[in-house]
Amino acid sequence: MTSKSKWLSAPYVLWSIIFIVIPLGMIFYYGLTDKTGAFTLENITAIMTAEHAKALWLSILLSFISTLICFLLAYPLAMILANMKVNQHSFIILIFILPMWMNFLLRTLAWQTLLEKSGVINNILNFLHLPNINIINTPYAIVLGMVYNFLPFMVLPLYNVLSKIDENVMNAAKDLGANSVYTFFRITLPLSIPGIISGITMVFVPALTTFVISTLLGGSKILLIGNVIEQEFTQASNWHLGSGLSIVLMIFIILNMIASAVFDKDGEGAML
């Protein structure tokens, strides 16, 4: 097949070069030059200025918290689902994927409606004579939005690896006298690491780079690094700075890729 394959792969190789490699190259070109076209590192080091560093730090913090919450919520859920009787599988999984098929913006919009001052939740609380909650336009609302939107991305890979663990291994461990806590830490957890890694990647990267959730649930009061980059392109029209900051963002993503490559040597990913 070898000689033929070379030709067969041509369309795809061409496509990747035009639409993946060259565009990335352009980001690097803009990020490493100034308005006159001269080489500069200024756009990269701009991340150190107070407002950018703050936005980046806040993004990391919020996405870290969201990822952690997603993990803590999803792991028990995935374990329960994986242990369920087989004939219920597809239906249960379906239920957890279904919200993902709703438009991402509509889902976030729903939370705006729920959380607003005179929103649904506060109306219910008023009716019950309970104190109102006021988290819209705060970082809490953004974390909530992230967890809500990205939770399925954590559940699915975890469920996939957990349901593949051979029950005989667990039984063997139990036969050999291991209690359930020990079995969990020595067998279940280590075997599910590929799922954990891809779950973390799939939650952390979109959370780190979002600008939609912070705009819709943060009342434009909270600036994440995604917002800064988006505004450099759509408002300040400083593409050089925007590209420079994108390069910084990519460094974080590359670190993430390396981490998942180390744990997931097959290169297949556990997300599907």
């Binding site: 394959s5 639409f19 565009p23 993902m100 509509l106 005179s118 297949e268």
Partner: protein, 260 residues
């Protein structure tokens, strides 16, 4: 006892996931314009929605873009997978690495990089640019779902077919293709979903007056939420639910037959 705890836990997560959607559905029947009070039951937002030319146009755009981009991505992705199997390990992993970039990279960076590409090559923004972008980020999902099947493939069946006098094309479509089909289908579905749900990349690559549902909703939300939006989300949800139930029924029916 443990079972009850499990059920409660699942129920709680279930509420968390569905309460917002349920709220939107209820509000879509609320006659009063503000969500603060219930003004009676009405269908008027639904008729208003169908009379809204912009939203209907956006809906058509969204579906068209999703179908075409996922189809093209599936074709390109399938060919790429087949051709990659014959490559040297090193070349293949480099190519796979590049393939995965749009999937692992931040959407905002992918969107911006494509925007820069289109601008510097003077391509006019419109449906075409959205399509090209969607195909680009759809291909990795297709490849990712076909690759594992590719590895399970037994090369000797293909060679046997050749030995028996089949042409390469026939051998491919009669022997290899059926084995890949489930992977190709799930790749197509995955790509379709991703295309439907995308906002960020479309946001950066769309042209004048061309909107998909996502970008339409984004501008609507910024202008202030209209009840038509609640109606729209209800319709989308019900449609997706029905589709998924149908899709889910089909294979389970087959399994039952097989069991007999």
């Amino acid at each position: 006892m443990r079972n009850t705890a499990r059920k409660i836990y699942i129920a709680l997560i279930f509420i968390f996931l569905y309460a917002p959607i349920f709220t939107l559905m209820v509000l879509s029947f609320n006659a009063s314009k503000t969500r603060a009070k219930w003004g009676g039951f009405t269908f008027k937002w639904y008729s208003a929605l169908f009379q809204n030319r912009d939203i209907m146009e956006a809906l058509v755009n969204t579906l068209l873009i999703a179908v075409i981009s996922s189809l093209v991505a599936t074709v390109i992705g399938t060919i790429a997978c087949v051709s990659m199997s014959g490559m040297k390990r090193k070349t293949r992993s480099i190519l796979l690495g590049i393939t995965n970039i749009p999937m692992l990279n931040a959407d905002i960076v992918t969107g911006i990089s494509l925007m820069l590409l289109f601008i510097s090559f003077g391509i006019r923004f419109g449906v075409g640019t959205i399509l090209l972008s969607h195909i680009t980020f759809n291909i990795p999902y297709v490849i990712l779902s076909i690759m594992p099947r590719m590895k399970q493939l037994n090369p000797s069946t293909y060679e046997a077919a050749l030995d028996l006098g089949a042409s390469h094309t026939t051998a491919f479509f009669k022997v290899v293709f059926p084995d890949l089909l489930p992977g190709i289908l799930s790749g197509f579905l995955m790509a379709f979903t991703m295309s439907l749900d995308d906002f960020i990349i479309t946001h950066f690559t769309k042209g004048a007056g061309v909107d998909t549902l996502s970008t339409k909703i984004y501008t609507e939300v910024k202008k202030g939420i209209k009840p038509e939006m609640y109606a729209l989300s209800t319709i989308i949800f019900v449609t997706v639910l029905l589709l998924l139930i149908l899709v889910n029924m089909a294979p389970s029916g087959k399994n039952e037959k097989a069991d007999k």
